[in-house]
Subunit: 365 residues, 5 copies
Amino acid sequence: MQPQLPHQQKNRRIKRLHKRKTGLPPGTLLYTGEKKSSEITVHRIAYNSTNYAEKIFTDGNKLNLEVPEDSVLWLNINGLHNEKFIESIGNHFGLHNLILEDILNVFQIPKAEEYPETDQFYITLNEFYIDDQGKLNRDQISLLLGKGYLLSFQEEEGDYFEQIRERLRTAKGKLRKKNADYLLYVLLDSIVDSYYIILDQYSGQIDVVEETIFEKKNTNHLETIHQLNKDMIFLRRSIAPLQEILFRLLKEDAVLIEDETRLFLRDVLDHVQQVVSQIDVDREFLADLVQTNMANMNSHLNEIIKLLTLISTIFIPLTFIVGVYGMNFESIPLLHQPNGYFIVWGAMILISVIQILIFKKKKWL
Amino acid sequence: MQPQLPHQQKNRRIKRLHKRKTGLPPGTLLYTGEKKSSEITVHRIAYNSTNYAEKIFTDGNKLNLEVPEDSVLWLNINGLHNEKFIESIGNHFGLHNLILEDILNVFQIPKAEEYPETDQFYITLNEFYIDDQGKLNRDQISLLLGKGYLLSFQEEEGDYFEQIRERLRTAKGKLRKKNADYLLYVLLDSIVDSYYIILDQYSGQIDVVEETIFEKKNTNHLETIHQLNKDMIFLRRSIAPLQEILFRLLKEDAVLIEDETRLFLRDVLDHVQQVVSQIDVDREFLADLVQTNMANMNSHLNEIIKLLTLISTIFIPLTFIVGVYGMNFESIPLLHQPNGYFIVWGAMILISVIQILIFKKKKWL
Amino acid sequence: MQPQLPHQQKNRRIKRLHKRKTGLPPGTLLYTGEKKSSEITVHRIAYNSTNYAEKIFTDGNKLNLEVPEDSVLWLNINGLHNEKFIESIGNHFGLHNLILEDILNVFQIPKAEEYPETDQFYITLNEFYIDDQGKLNRDQISLLLGKGYLLSFQEEEGDYFEQIRERLRTAKGKLRKKNADYLLYVLLDSIVDSYYIILDQYSGQIDVVEETIFEKKNTNHLETIHQLNKDMIFLRRSIAPLQEILFRLLKEDAVLIEDETRLFLRDVLDHVQQVVSQIDVDREFLADLVQTNMANMNSHLNEIIKLLTLISTIFIPLTFIVGVYGMNFESIPLLHQPNGYFIVWGAMILISVIQILIFKKKKWL
Amino acid sequence: MQPQLPHQQKNRRIKRLHKRKTGLPPGTLLYTGEKKSSEITVHRIAYNSTNYAEKIFTDGNKLNLEVPEDSVLWLNINGLHNEKFIESIGNHFGLHNLILEDILNVFQIPKAEEYPETDQFYITLNEFYIDDQGKLNRDQISLLLGKGYLLSFQEEEGDYFEQIRERLRTAKGKLRKKNADYLLYVLLDSIVDSYYIILDQYSGQIDVVEETIFEKKNTNHLETIHQLNKDMIFLRRSIAPLQEILFRLLKEDAVLIEDETRLFLRDVLDHVQQVVSQIDVDREFLADLVQTNMANMNSHLNEIIKLLTLISTIFIPLTFIVGVYGMNFESIPLLHQPNGYFIVWGAMILISVIQILIFKKKKWL
Amino acid sequence: MQPQLPHQQKNRRIKRLHKRKTGLPPGTLLYTGEKKSSEITVHRIAYNSTNYAEKIFTDGNKLNLEVPEDSVLWLNINGLHNEKFIESIGNHFGLHNLILEDILNVFQIPKAEEYPETDQFYITLNEFYIDDQGKLNRDQISLLLGKGYLLSFQEEEGDYFEQIRERLRTAKGKLRKKNADYLLYVLLDSIVDSYYIILDQYSGQIDVVEETIFEKKNTNHLETIHQLNKDMIFLRRSIAPLQEILFRLLKEDAVLIEDETRLFLRDVLDHVQQVVSQIDVDREFLADLVQTNMANMNSHLNEIIKLLTLISTIFIPLTFIVGVYGMNFESIPLLHQPNGYFIVWGAMILISVIQILIFKKKKWL
């Protein structure tokens, strides 16, 4: 994708992370996002190494929530605006009320929690995309791993996981032979992979800004840098907590995660660390560019003022001299001499030359 | 609420956190705040899943402090200016003298302490509100959890907890079925929720400042930013210690907190972390805006000086030329030629055009 | 106390923390401070819940150093300039040579050490005061807790502990009923309390600077801020290590400190943390004020340069025009027309009006 | 090597660390670098204290991968662009798929992993060099230690390890008598040694910039500093993680590393820490130089403006005076006096002298 | 010592810490410093509480390296440029090759290592001095503690330890009665003591800079501050790691260090911490001074520009007016009136007075 300068994207306001339902009793389920799709669709996939069944429901249909024996069940719920519907799914799988709250409260920083009583592991994280107006947007993805099943909740019907579904259908890779915890890894891996794409776009933008700064030195690029920095702060805040979560997850002995999957999750952690480290480097670059931009502007100002000083210091004394000979005294020396005019010119040229020589010596020219 | 620019709120001075009673022996009880309400009122609520009793006393009345069997007792004390009265309550419940000191010394940063001998858990934290003059204000709330009872102390009769009382009255939610530790959670949750509202107002103000900076580039917005930053520093300092307190509380095995409540407190901790992380992001934004504002002002200055230089460098030489022909020499070349005047004009126009072309080439125009 | 602007206190140099006795063998006892009082006085107090004996010795007198049975002995030594005398006290109580060195080397950052072999606990910390010239000063207080006795060493005869002595005399509070470790707590608490007073004075000064900055925007206040910042750095450095010391003291099981006293020491720790946190907030404020001051000065400069540009760009072209009509050509158009003068004036007024309109449009006026 | 100023190296863009294969299923092997050499060569060395065998294969040849008994096998693979070939080697030695991915994904920050099931230890790190255009470049080196063998993978056929091979051939040092883990140490040591060379070159460049800044005070050196800083950020990011990796490696009991080798690895860690500490110091220097440069430019600007002010304030009043006597009034005082002209000159000289004296007193000259 | 301003010490380049022998096999012994003394001298001292023997050898002599029974042997080696000689000493005492490398590689940051197999403890640290040209210099001191002996290696024959030798000779202090580990402490203590002297000199220089900044506000002092800061960065880097080393040494149970000596080493640690804390404070001061200096220069610039604006805005309009009456129109009003000249003067004075009043009101005068 062609990097696009962010100042062409006026006024993009980043959605702040907050919790809108203040004032309600804790435990009240309320979707805090916008209704992004008209209806909720549920993608039901059940697979094992030999069989694969896929079906799409909407929240109007009766849903089959049974976990089939010897198969992995993956329910992908698109759209969260129907709290009753989400609650009914939650109740069927015995989800703690706090999980349901977190799924619906879509302005979260990433978090993860193990629920040993129900043998469930819950993780929520963010997916990013840049919309048509060039604004950075965020979708919250919640993943719930249980025994033999995985629930994934997302705000709008995107195709984040279509590639994974395709691989399931064609039985490509070892995904079909593995358990639900491996599916969790695959989903996490695909989300973290998408961070690289977003970061690449920003890196491209930063490179463009950098080049522009060194080409158009007299321009103020801080508005552009400010927008980029704002997005980087936002990305860092929405991604960085993942590090600690995955680290904790790998340290503690979550029963649901098999040892082999643990190795893969460590790989995901490595990637998240790379992403965060890249964000930090980019932010350092931006801070550097702010300084460079300032210095360039100062340097440009110096040049302008130097010119002003040059012209002024040369011509102001000359103007004074011609003023002297414009006075209406009758007895001004040289005035009535035939060569007086040229002698005065000679003096003025001499003064100018001396001044220019002084400037040259002081390296101001 | 409509975000309001803080520079309309002149001279608001944040109450500093300190301890006024220096010089007194430790253990002396002294209320360090202002007397905010005329009399102290005590809200006494006793409830279990079936019964609910509510009564309001003042410090003049005789108070029933007995903890009823099979019920949860919640005493909400509004107003702290009568030290004797607070001490009498403290003595009845066997509160350590240090707790009483902390309750009355209302310039505290949040802290919590477990007293295993008396099976009590004490936590103090802050509630914020913006008053009529737009100033940020702070109330200290102290909560004491004991076996079967909860005491809450606040400086002035606010309606912080009215919603919770209403839920108790109507037996909404599971609050009535739970123990005093769950009530503690509900109170903490409601206080932390109110932080979101305060932060939302500040986020709104910051957005307004940001827009103004990019619209009125030649203005100094630093006074506004300074005020916002001051409030953010204050908020961070008054909220951030809560993180560590709750974290410690969840790690250690406080006997009074049931396992299930622990899960809810972790949720409160998540919210506090979100709030603090939002404050940090807002402060980074403000620091960014300071730089942007400075750069805008510099950029504006450059433009002005560029104009000055332009006008000066064009007209100063011209003025010199016309000065030359204003000299009273008789034998100035061209002076007595019929077209002399127009030749001089031609020369002057030529000089101006050349200067403008040079400026264009150097991209100063 | 009325806050006083520090720039009225010229040239106050903070005493640097260092060790003057370099070059001497380790173990050499040498007082590194100034001789602040003419003679050393020793305040000997022995008390229990029923009895109280107080006596003042000087270093000339024979000293009774015996620890009375069933009583707490408190020796308060004022003045350290007689190394022999201090050593004799140290030898009587079996103090390690390193302790004696630390007592006499009065440019210490706070430290604490337990000596399990001799059942002694040593802590040294600083007391601050602002002298007549408004300079910040520091006294080192060393406290040594032993079984049944407490030694306190200070450089000059101050009245830091007079209030505590008064309370001992009148048997106010529970101080008389407690052991020497409680006396240690009371002394620490009184010292930490005094930090609040110092900080309050600085907070007042910072407020004054803040107001002045926003009133006199064109002045450079950085010298004042620089002095305040220097004092804050000094205070932080001299107080902050106390946090870690008390923290360690509370964690480890110092045998000399009873469990109940431990609870009180935790309270002292809370206060030290509040003080340090207040210093940090004040330093952030000062850093903020530096930026605000800079921006105000820039903003003021912009205004001045704007005026210069305005006057120059309006009058320089006009001066050129009048110069044209001052040339001595005979055939200048308009010159000999009757209304020529007024036509030129009209043109000049027109040019000025157009320039002013352009400035207004560009919002430079 | 002669330090070379980086601004002579226009537009060098640092390769960003990222993972290009987003969108592919995890486990897909794909080389993410450029094809740097035409064919893959494999250096096969088998040695013990008495024997030494060396052979070079290309990816076209059939490879002998057997680990000889009583010998150490070292396979050095140059070039990674043939994924199939790398995979076949990996399969023979039982490498985990994640290792193969990491070997081929050459935009890694350093990492290390132990695989206890297969008794393998994997470490990847970076080698740096400055190419012909003066750009900083990076090669990824992956080392895999197994029982009796060591595999080293590098992107391009460099001579990083030729010295080590030479030492093996000539049986110099104790290398030939030791096991494969000592060879790992020798390779790591040689890579870390090369960091010193790179850093020396940058230190030289920084010294040149520093000198230039103090010689040509009126120039903007920020572009050069910006480029140096960018490289330092890049180096730090690519080297610093090695510290943690080696630290962990020394703490945990990796079975493959003998105790004696551990001591040598600690030495490598010391060197890495020195390198990183030197980078940090260099970055602090650069930050310092940015400030110094800015201040120098400001100082130069002050001088220029001082001159402008001097000339203007002296001549502007004088020009006004001569203008007065150029007015066409008939009755201007002094105008018709014989000495009038000289009296006016006297007044003008007086004014100039007074102004210059004032400037001198204010130390502006 | 009289503090000396560093800008009198042109061009002092700090020796960078690095390792010059890159390219050599690990284990090669090579002295990386300059040959500072013509020959290596070895100071051999053997002592116990009753006997004392001292002898000086050079590297040409045959050396007696035997550790005498019941005595402490201290070998102080001055000069490291003869690698063979150092190696022969190392071999006699069974030093690990890595120790020998570290002794000879004199661009080390401080480090310490225990070698339990040989019952040896190795520590290397830096000694600083300011040479005749006012440049900061560094010597590396390596100390090796073994059973009954201590080896000290230094680059050049200095008198760092002469005082200690004198104390040994005269049997002053308890040094003669103690073991080799106490000698180690005494040497460390003397080195750390010398840090105070260096820091005192820098503190003096910083005070001078501070005063100069507030006296000569219009000067750029950044070059001086830059040099001081560079030295402070260097000192910090060369001293700070000592903290961690001593801390680890005190925690772990190094068998060679007796419990009593441990107490003294803790005292050395306290001193190192004070030194590092003083360096940090000094660096904060320097950062503060940079800002103050900048602000002073800005403030000075403001004053100059204010003057320029004042003169210009007053005289430019006046010059225009006199220009008007210098035009050659015949019918200019007032021109032919007798009082015209004085009326114009009146108008000009009025304009000036009004402008000055406006300036006064705006507080620009």
